[in-house]
């Protein structure tokens, strides 16, 4: 279910014919192709059909797939996810949209106590091939209730998978793999990235879940970046390269299951590591990554694992505060320099 249909080069760029697409269009194309591939895939959510989604994630899908497969629902996220759970338990492959990740608080029971645990606590007799799509992240002045990155909650839940596309290419490939996967998978799109562009193959392809991607190779510091922070880390890499510092940038792509082997291998070469995510640092995934790295490759570390995340506050509204809140290339570069100062 997780095999990719395109050959990829080592840096993950597809070796097949591609063209530039926005992140949101790449997502949309992957979804449409997955719907063509499998008649059991349908989409439900608020304003996903007639309006095409408030972020245009579902543009044109109603035209092609009709109201049987594109379902507008009331504002009832618990019932919406529950509808997905029940339909998945009965053999469909629902794609359920939560619009803003922050709304997860009204339907977490269905995600965590039902979708994630059902196979296990029922004794294995079914699968729940449910995909939940949602937009996360700060940067649009959407404030405390519309800007969160809550991957740490979900990655802590046995039975769930969680992917965080970092660019157009992964937005398409991870979405396809999420839909093909037989487990509940949460696809965390990033709001700020929606309009960013990247090379995307035309045909359908999956990106293996649970496989990290080395987005840039380097020997001085390993930077593990989640979601939108991958692009920031790559920008920091350019800046640092000008100073003669080569950082390796790892994009886990999937945060549950998490491909720590790729991280360990990198750290064994660089001996220094920085983890960066948009979520609040305390209790964020950086903690898990740091804990595993110090455990497994302890003897290779020349400096403690450095974490960069948001400070311990809700996401502020005012752009001047929001900018200071979200990690960026400058802070990443700064972090790398600090790591290298340490002997």
């Amino acid at each position: 279910m997780t095999a990719t249909t395109v050959t990829t080069t080592t840096n993950g760029a597809p070796a097949v014919a591609t063209r530039k697409l926005t992140y949101v269009k790449a997502f949309n194309e992957g979804l449409a192709q997955a719907m063509r591939e499998d008649e059991n895939v349908f989409v439900a959510g608020e304003d996903v059909a007639g309006y095409g989604g408030v972020f245009r994630m579902f543009d044109n899908l109603l035209d092609e797939f009709g109201p049987r497969r594109m379902i507008d629902t009331p504002i009832s996220e618990a019932a919406l996810v529950g509808l997905g759970v029940g339909a998945a338990a009965r053999g469909l492959r629902p794609v359920v949209d939560l619009m803003f990740m922050d709304f997860i608080g009204v339907c977490l029971d269905q995600i965590v106590n039902q979708a994630a645990k059902m196979k296990y606590m029922f004794g294995g007799g079914l699968s729940v091939p449910l995909t939940i799509t949602t937009a996360s992240g700060a940067g649009l002045g959407a404030a405390a209730q519309h800007s969160q990155s809550l991957e740490a909650w979900l990655a802590h839940v046995p039975g769930l998978k969680v992917v965080m596309p970092s660019d157009a290419y992964t937005a398409k490939g991870l979405t396809v793999s999420a839909i093909r996967d037989d487990n509940p998978v949460v696809v965390m799109l990033n709001k700020v990235l929606l309009g960013s562009t990247g090379e995307v193959p035309e045909e359908i392809y999956g990106i293996p879940l649970g496989q990290a991607h080395t987005a840039r190779q380097g020997s001085d510091v390993t930077v593990i970046a989640l979601g939108r922070m991958v692009g920031e880390a790559l920008a920091a890499a350019d800046e640092l390269a000008a100073e003669g510092v080569e950082i390796e940038v790892i994009d886990p792509r999937t945060v549950q299951p998490l491909d720590t082997e790729t991280m360990f291998a990198s750290v064994r070469r660089t001996n220094r590591v920085l983890v960066v995510h948009e979520a609040v640092t305390f209790g964020g995934l950086g903690a898990e990554i740091a804990a595993q790295i110090q455990d497994v490759v302890f003897d290779y570390l020349d400096a403690p694992v450095l974490r960069i995340g948001a400070p311990f506050s809700p996401v502020p509204f005012s752009p001047v505060l929001e900018k200071a809140y979200v990690p960026d290339r400058a802070r990443i570069a700064q972090g790398c320099r600090r790591l290298l100062e340490r002997s």
Binding site: M1, F42, R68, I71, T73, P74, S76, E77, A78, A79, L80, V81, G82, L83, G84, V85, G86, A87, A88, A89, R90, G91, L92, P94, V106, D109, Q110, N113, Q114, M118, K119, Y120, M121, F122, G123, G124, G125, L126, S127, V128, P129, P158, G159, K161, D181, D182, N183
Partner: protein
């Protein structure tokens, strides 16, 4: 403009616990001639199976043999039997924390149910789930559920799948009076209504949510009044009368099967044991008289009296059902006790598919 009176009774706010009876038994509706002897016998047998499953489970728990919680269904058998006799095997149900009755009536086997209560690897959940997660996908039993109201949207999803696939099976979701106060119930009801899905909403109104009487958790006398908020028709039945439940269920199920959308049935019923377990009550939240009064309308007594009066069955035939069931249960318990425990090495089995 004139104020629109609520259709509901206007009770004064109630915050103190009440011990007076909240639900009074109803008069049995007139016996109809049309009901077939086969259905009566079927109802009776399913009720006996539930009753004995539950009372034996209660004894096992008292004897300290069963871990975990046990929410007994005794007293409410007419609801599960009445609804399940209106369903096909491929119809789907979602259940509650009080799920044994639904499982037994839907045809889940005693062996895997007892084995599950014992936490054995031969159990319905391989010993992973226990009482509150018993399920059998081959029988359309989509699981008991430990979270109040959570089964409701799941049934809506099952009904969605049926229609999507062009199948004509329906989904039934069981829930208590107390469960209708939770958000997921409301959302599920509206979702089923607006999507016009084949879901039957069965409220087992036993008058209490744990130890809280209905009068302290809602101002309505009839939970069925809530259906109107979703444009859903509803019907109230005597939940101690299996035939009445069966008739209402046939109507609602066939309506749903015809594509006419969801409907709600409220069955007025009672649980004879405590909310959980068999130990009796810490606080007298129900009066002895109330319990005794309801026990005079034991749903199995009622159907047996009727069957004998109608000539549908003889006392001996009925006794045979009890005896056969007892034997089957004894065998199932022995099976469960002889079954192996799960192997801790398999702790991670079934966390993920594939």
């Amino acid at each position: 403009m004139a104020q629109r009176a609520s259709t509901a009774s206007k009770k004064s706010p109630q915050v103190t616990p009440q011990v007076t009876p909240q639900v009074t038994p109803q008069v049995n509706p007139p016996v109809s001639e049309q009901i077939s002897p086969r259905v009566i016998k079927d109802l009776h047998e399913r009720m006996v199976r539930i009753r004995l499953f539950e009372t034996e489970a209660g004894k096992l728990m008292e004897a300290g043999k069963l871990p975990g919680f046990l929410h007994l269904y005794v007293g409410q058998e007419a609801v599960a039997a009445g609804v399940m006799t209106a369903l096909r095997d491929d119809d789907q149900i979602t259940s509650t924390h009080r799920g044994h009755g639904h499982a037994v009536a839907k045809g889940v086997g005693f062996r895997e149910m007892y084995a599950e209560l014992y936490g054995r690897v031969t159990g319905a959940c391989l010993g992973r789930g226990g009482s509150m997660h018993i399920n059998d996908l081959t029988r359309g039993m989509l699981g008991a559920n430990g979270i109040v109201g959570a089964g409701v949207p799941i049934a809506v999803g099952a009904a969605f799948a049926a229609r999507y696939k062009g199948e004509d099976n329906v989904a039934v979701t069981f829930f208590g009076d107390g469960a209708t106060n939770i958000g997921a119930w409301h959302e599920g009801a509206n979702m089923a209504a607006i999507l016009g899905l084949p879901v039957v909403f069965v409220c087992e109104n036993n008058g209490y949510a744990e130890f809280t009487p209905q009068s302290a958790h809602m101002l309505l006398t009839d939970v069925a009044d809530r259906a109107a908020a979703y444009g859903m028709p509803s019907v109230i039945v005597d939940g101690m009368d299996a035939v009445a439940v069966h008739r209402a269920a046939v109507e609602a199920v066939e309506r749903a099967r015809r594509g006419e959308g969801p409907m709600m049935i409220e069955a007025k019923t009672y649980r004879f044991f405590d909310h959980q377990g068999v130990k009796g009550l810490r606080h007298p939240y129900r009066s002895a008289e109330e319990v005794a009064e309801w026990r005079t309308r034991d749903p199995i007594d009622l159907i047996e009296a009727r069957a004998v009066a109608d000539g549908t069955a003889t006392r001996t035939e009925l006794d045979d059902v009890w005896q056969r069931t007892r034997d089957e249960i004894a065998e199932a318990i022995a099976y469960a006790e002889a079954s192996p425990l799960p192997d801790p090495a398999d702790l991670l089995l079934n966390v993920y598919s594939g």
